[in-house]
């Protein structure tokens, strides 16, 4: 009797999934949680308190989180507390310290954290996260994992369901069109602009994440082999791929604000200086930020946003649950709510925040799709550019260190 070698588990699952896929369009091929299990989670979540540590540098974010808190209170009696932080690395540090002090599951101070990139990589590698949970959330089936691959791949590190996608980000610039009628369409044009009007352009000091992204954008545009950036960094790769970057930054430096001897703290400082007229342009990760600021009457209506012609770096930001969260069930319910069309639509609404959605609009019902009204508003990006993938998470540290060595002293 011929014996077949047992097919490896993953391949078997894929085969089965591939076979059943045409018949189950609405269910993601990954492990979908049965409704019973999810109901159990929802039951456990009732009455719990969730401490959500999230960056709080803008009023829109804070107001949106307040709205979410009201909604989950009404639906599941969950008390959502927004813990305002300036830097996600703080939370990583806190959870790490708690783990070192022996806090077991259920004894932590953080239930949910707004996270991505190298912070996520750190937490995942050190076993500081609860999960996998993301792909078992009922609303995860609405996520556009095909059109937005970064929802499963955070800075080239697979999420493995340890974090749930929340919003999209893409590196965007904005400026007052009265002071800058011809926006630069690439890094090279930016350099030319800096030469023409010295002292009026700058970017935040690394390791602020906007500053890092500016440098990564230049890297991606100038590297001889962009594919190498998607793989973990090596010394050789760093030397070859980053050489044109350092040349570019060296050439740019003398024409920067304050001669490049000094850099602003963060992107908000850059935005304030742009609003005051001290700088020509500002950067952001939210393509709708300028529109939002104009709507809130903090920027004049003449401000426009744009992205570089060949594309700018984009990523997804997520929420994750630490391993020792006290209310993991409620945290999952909140994460699920964040993925709901109602929540995503309100988030994408420029009047409230303008953060782009992670959902695939095609998978929504017509009523839900209508929530995502898209009337163009002043300050929005008129010609969206392609999203370039982030380099692998391991590139961030060496880049930041080298930048600091060259320009921080």
């Amino acid at each position: 009797m011929p014996t077949t070698r047992p097919t490896p588990l993953r391949r078997r699952t894929l085969l089965v999934a591939g076979a059943t896929l045409p018949w189950l369009p609405a269910v993601s091929p990954a492990r979908a949680q049965s409704t019973d299990a999810w109901t159990a989670v929802e039951q456990a979540a009732r009455g719990q308190t969730v401490f959500w540590n999230a960056w709080a540098g803008s009023e829109q974010t804070n107001a949106y989180l307040q709205w979410v808190a009201q909604q989950v209170k009404a639906s599941h009696n969950i008390t959502l507390q927004h813990v305002k932080i300036t830097d996600t690395a703080d939370v990583v540090k806190r959870v790490r310290a708690e783990k070192a002090a022996g806090r077991r599951a259920g004894e932590g101070t953080v239930d949910l954290v707004w996270i991505n990139g190298e912070n996520f990589a750190a937490m995942k590698n050190e076993g500081l996260l609860f999960g996998p949970f993301a792909e078992s959330l009922p609303n995860f089936r609405l996520v556009d994992v095909v059109g937005k691959p970064t929802t499963r791949n955070d800075f080239s590190v697979p999420t493995d369901g340890m974090e749930s996608p929340w919003g999209m980000a893409q590196f965007t610039l904005f400026a007052d069109s009265r002071r800058l009628p011809q926006p630069p369409r690439s890094m090279t044009e930016l350099l030319a602009l800096a030469r023409a009007q010295p002292g009026r352009i700058t970017y935040p000091r690394l390791p602020d994440f906007h500053g890092t992204t500016f440098v990564k954008q230049a890297l991606v545009e100038l590297a001889p082999d962009p594919a190498a950036l998607g793989r973990p960094v090596t010394d050789a790769a760093l030397a070859t791929q980053a050489a044109p970057l350092w040349q570019f930054l060296d050439a740019l430096r003398p024409h920067l604000w304050r001669g490049g001897r000094q850099f602003p703290q963060n992107a908000a400082a850059v935005r304030q200086m742009m609003a005051d007229g001290e700088l020509l342009l500002a950067l952001t990760f939210n393509p709708n930020e300028a529109a939002n600021e104009i709507a809130a009457r903090r920027l004049p209506p003449s401000v426009v946003s744009w992205q570089f012609d060949r594309g700018t770096i984009g990523n997804t930001h997520f929420v994750a649950i630490p391993y020792n969260a006290r209310s993991p069930a409620a945290a999952q319910v909140v994460a699920n709510f964040l993925l709901s069309p109602a929540a995503q639509a309100r988030k994408a609404d420029i009047a409230h925040w303008g953060d782009p959605t992670v959902l695939d609009l095609a998978r929504l019902s017509p009523a839900e799709r209508a929530l995502f009204g898209a009337a163009p508003l002043p300050g929005m990006v008129t010609r969206p550019a392609p999203t370039l993938p982030e380099p692998h998470a391991s590139w961030v540290d060496p880049l930041e260190r080298e930048w600091a060595r060259r320009y921080a002293a």
Binding site: E59, V92, K93, A269
Partner: protein, 541 residues
């Protein structure tokens, strides 16, 4: 009274254990985190680290020296022109201004797109866009020095005032000054020769507190100090924030290095020195210091507050417009929505001020003088160690005792931080209390408690109230301890303000800075009201 009895010694010992225990434990834990050999080798090698150290020394020493000189000059003015009381009455609002709020306001005034330049552009300067002058966050730290000086002058004046108003000294120095004038000395020179030397001697601890603060400040340096590289305190704090444990160890090591620098400067300041013999007999007029000094200081504070007030309601405000182009109340609405944080700030501040005051009074009553003299440096430790390092230890201690995120742990941290200031402010008046009163009271047949409740504490009401107000203000301004020991469960007005300052919106930052300012001012106003001397009914003829 007579020498301390056994019961008192036991109480003093208990008080000491309450405070010294957590202090020493935190210090030990912080040192443990900082004594990492690789980190010690690594941190000076970081780009800009040594320059940061140089900047720290320059800004700290320069600002302290300037503040010291300015304080002396202002006192000379006030004593000679007999305006001391007026000067001292103007102090509480200045003292209450939180450091971060003052720095933010100064930035709004001095920045290239700030108010000062807007008032003269474009008609005087011809600028259409903000000039590329590094007026704030300048690489030499001059902006930071200005901000530090503006903040430390009132504190030094306040400490000098508590010394000058002691029961046992106030009439005496006035008499001595008058005497020197009758000997032919010009009034100003008489001040410098006769009044200032003993006063300066008594101001050594406050001077040290000012120096330690200048060397280790984080929130002011973030707002107005140099950015690339920043001062060493900011650099250490940034490293401590990093997710990588190796870099955190570097941060702790840099914090320890900073502590050593403070220690070295402390040794210099506290070194006993022979008073200079000023017997050359010169009697002519000496440098007065600076006639418009007081007005300039008050004017600077007023300008800063005005900048914050206008900034908080501004929408679009492009250079070179003098006034905002759009006005909006959004920022204040956001502030209004954060009622819980105001509540947290209030109970923390009131609680820690009360505890610190109770401890200080108990200590000053019961501790034998020798213990007090020997142990003051220990109690003043939080003033001298950089907050950056301190917080590492406190948080580690909190984790061990499972106090992180609890109200009790947070209150304990705030009390420990407020205690040195309260003790510093209260000691002169308390220890200067006329000892004959105690003898008299006892001779009338009353025991210790009656003396305290009905005589000593009522007579010291003003000093007690101001010490409590100082503790209140210190607690409101605490940033790092609230951040770490609150473990995210609790946020205060200061943590909100600094978090929002990271967001950069001028209106929101100004509004929170204004709120940050209002609370301690209320505290001081309350203290002034409580500390008023009793009004007697006017005499009936």
């Amino acid at each position: 009274m007579t020498h301390t009895g056994r019961g008192e010694r036991a109480l003093a010992l208990g008080l000491l254990a309450l405070v010294a225990g957590p202090l020493l434990a935190s210090a030990a834990l912080a040192l443990g985190a900082a004594l990492d050999a690789t980190a010690w080798a690594a941190w000076p090698a970081q780009p800009g680290a040594l320059r940061a150290l140089g900047l720290t020394l320059f800004t700290g020493l320069a600002s302290t020296a300037l503040a010291w000189w300015a304080c002396a000059a202002l006192l000379a003015q006030a004593v000679v022109r007999r305006r001391l009381d007026r000067l001292l009455r103007a102090l509480p609002p200045l003292l209450a201004t939180p450091h971060a709020a003052l720095a933010i306001g100064l930035v709004f005034l001095l920045a290239p797109s700030g108010w000062l330049l807007r008032t003269v552009s474009p008609w005087l300067t011809g600028f259409d866009a903000p000039p590329p002058w590094p007026t704030t966050q300048d690489p030499w730290g001059l902006g930071l020095i200005a901000a530090l000086v503006a903040k430390e002058i009132p504190f030094l004046l306040w400490c000098a005032a508590t010394q000058l108003q002691r029961d046992d000294a106030s009439r005496r120095w006035q008499a001595e000054h008058t005497l020197a004038c009758t000997l032919g000395y010009h009034p100003v020179r008489a001040f410098w020769r006769v009044v200032w030397p003993p006063l300066a001697q008594r101001l050594r601890w406050p001077l040290l507190a000012v120096l330690a603060y200048g060397l280790t400040v984080v929130d002011m340096a973030l707002v107005i100090g140099p950015a690339s590289p920043p001062t060493l305190a900011v650099l250490a704090w940034q490293w401590l924030q990093d997710a990588d444990p190796a870099i955190q160890a570097q941060g702790a090591a840099a914090g320890l290095a900073l502590a050593l620098v403070v220690g070295a400067c402390a040794a210099l300041v506290l070194a006993p020195r022979r008073p200079r013999r000023a017997v050359d007999g010169r009697r002519g007029p000496a440098t007065m210091g600076w006639r418009p000094g007081a007005t300039l200081l008050l004017g600077a504070y007023a300008a800063v507050l005005a900048a914050l007030a206008v900034g908080s309601v501004s929408g679009v405000w492009a250079f070179p417009a003098l006034w905002p182009q759009t006005w909006t109340l959004d920022a204040w609405r956001a502030v209004g929505a954060s009622g819980a944080t105001v509540g947290t700030t209030l109970w923390l501040a009131a609680g820690s001020a009360a505890l610190a005051l109770a401890w200080s009074v108990a200590w000053l009553e019961c501790a034998p003088p020798r213990w007090d003299a020997a142990l003051r440096p220990l109690i003043y430790l939080p003033l001298l160690l950089p907050a950056v390092l301190w917080v590492v230890g406190l948080y580690a201690l909190g984790l061990r005792l499972r106090l992180e995120g609890t109200a009790g742990g947070l209150l304990l941290a705030h009390t420990l931080m407020a205690l040195p200031y309260v003790l510093l402010t209260l000691s002169p008046a308390y220890q200067g209390f006329d000892p004959r009163c105690a003898a008299l009271c006892a001779s009338l047949g009353h025991g210790r408690w009656t003396l305290l409740w009905r005589v000593k504490w009522p007579l010291l009401r003003r000093a007690l109230a101001s010490a409590a107000a100082v503790g209140f203000a210190v607690s409101v301004a605490q940033y790092l301890p609230t951040l770490y020991l609150g473990a995210g469960r609790w946020s205060s007005v200061t943590t909100e303000a600094v978090t929002l300052a990271a967001g950069g919106q001028r209106s929101l930052t100004s509004a929170y800075a204004a709120l940050q300012f209002a609370l301690p001012v209320l505290g001081f106003a309350l203290a002034a009201a409580l500390g008023r001397p009793r009004r007697f009914r006017p005499e009936t003829p």
